[in-house]
């Protein structure tokens, strides 16, 4: 158990288009991670598809980079497409 690898679990719900991160499981290999994910995260009929990804293969942004990475976009409201009038035919965007 102490040697089991950590996997991140992504589940696509019945009506969802994309897989969403739901949590993590320990497992000795990917196949076991898939089964454990099925048993932990889809037991209440939550999903139709599962991805498992070894946690240590994920490259994450560092928390001390937060200001540099994300603050500059705070005052750039022109990046939001909220100043255009949409024709009715376009529908929901």
């Amino acid at each position: 158990m102490s040697e089991w690898r950590l996997y991140e679990v992504f589940v696509r719900s019945k009506h969802g288009l994309n897989h969403k991160h739901v949590g993590s499981v320990h497992a000795s290999d990917a196949e076991m991670a898939m089964e454990n994910a099925r048993d932990l995260y889809t037991r209440r009929n939550e999903g139709v598809s599962i991805w498992v990804v070894p946690s240590d293969t994920i490259t994450a942004s560092a928390s001390d980079e937060k200001e540099v990475l994300f603050d500059p976009s705070e005052d750039k409201i022109y990046r939001h497409a909220s100043f255009y009038e949409l024709p009715d035919e376009v529908g929901h965007m």
Partner: protein, 254 residues
């Protein structure tokens, strides 16, 4: 033995094996080696208890003596239980728990698969639903047998020991008696020869992949479970499982 008698007997066997193995697995609640395994084991256990309920309900209708599914499960003594001896064997280490599960799952899978074609529509319906669950159980337990068998020196030794300990209870799964034959001839139950062939085929395949050696085909086998002759373990399981119903008969508020 009439077909009607055999059918009641056969339904109790299906129900009791599910019920006892489910109860055995539930003993690991709070004690499994990892959180993930605990959830998985309890899922399997509750699948089995749910299936037992379906078989008991049908059996109760046919027995028709006023007993319902609960009474069949909680008010019968060991000698009236018809579960396979394999299902009542203790959990021991995880290799034994998973070995027992694997031998059972192979039998369960092929039995249910055949029962989906049963001439008895009620049985075919219950089996179709149960087969989806059993297919997953088998996938899980096969993976574990391979992982432990083809794992470390220690895990291989333990898994081989588990196969050797449990082997003497596997003959009962694939050796038909009168009830099994009557069911097969009526098109209700599986063909015993095919079931034995399928069971041996898959068990050998998985054990080979797991670098494990199966027991001998002509090994001496314990075979009393289907007739109510059980190992010493069943009485203890029932004592715990039936305590509440025995202590407070017909209690309706918990």
């Amino acid at each position: 033995m009439t077909q009607a008698e055999a059918l009641k007997e056969y339904l109790l066997r299906l129900a009791d094996s599910d019920m006892i193995l489910g109860q055995r697995l539930c003993e690991l609640c709070g004690k499994a080696p990892a959180l993930e395994e605990e959830m998985a084991l309890m899922n399997v256990a509750l699948d089995l208890v749910g299936q037992a309920r379906n078989w008991y309900e049908y059996a109760a209708e046919l027995i028709d003596d006023g007993r319902d599914a609960d009474k069949l499960a909680f008010r019968r003594d060991a000698h009236n239980y018809r579960n396979l001896l394999l299902t009542e064997q203790p959990n021991e280490d995880y290799a034994v728990t998973m070995g027992r599960q694997f031998f059972f799952d192979v039998w369960h899978y092929f039995t249910l698969k055949s029962l989906t074609e049963s001439s008895d529509e009620r049985i075919a319906g219950i089996a179709a639903k149960a087969l989806k669950e059993a297919t997953y159980h088998l996938r899980r337990s096969s993976e574990w047998v391979k992982r432990l068998g083809d794992g470390t020196e220690e895990s291989h030794k333990r898994m081989q020991d588990a196969v050797d300990i449990l082997w003497r209870f596997t003959g009962e799964l694939i050796t038909p008696d009168d009830t099994d034959r009557v069911m097969a001839e009526a098109g209700i139950g599986p063909d015993p020869d095919q079931l034995a062939k399928d069971w041996r085929g898959m068990v050998n395949e998985v054990l080979t992949q797991a670098t494990l050696t199966p027991g001998a085909e002509d090994a001496w086998m314990y075979m009393g479970g289907k007739h109510g002759e059980h190992t010493e373990h069943l009485g203890f399981i029932l004592a715990e499982m039936q305590f509440l119903q025995r202590a407070y008969p017909d209690a309706t508020t918990w």
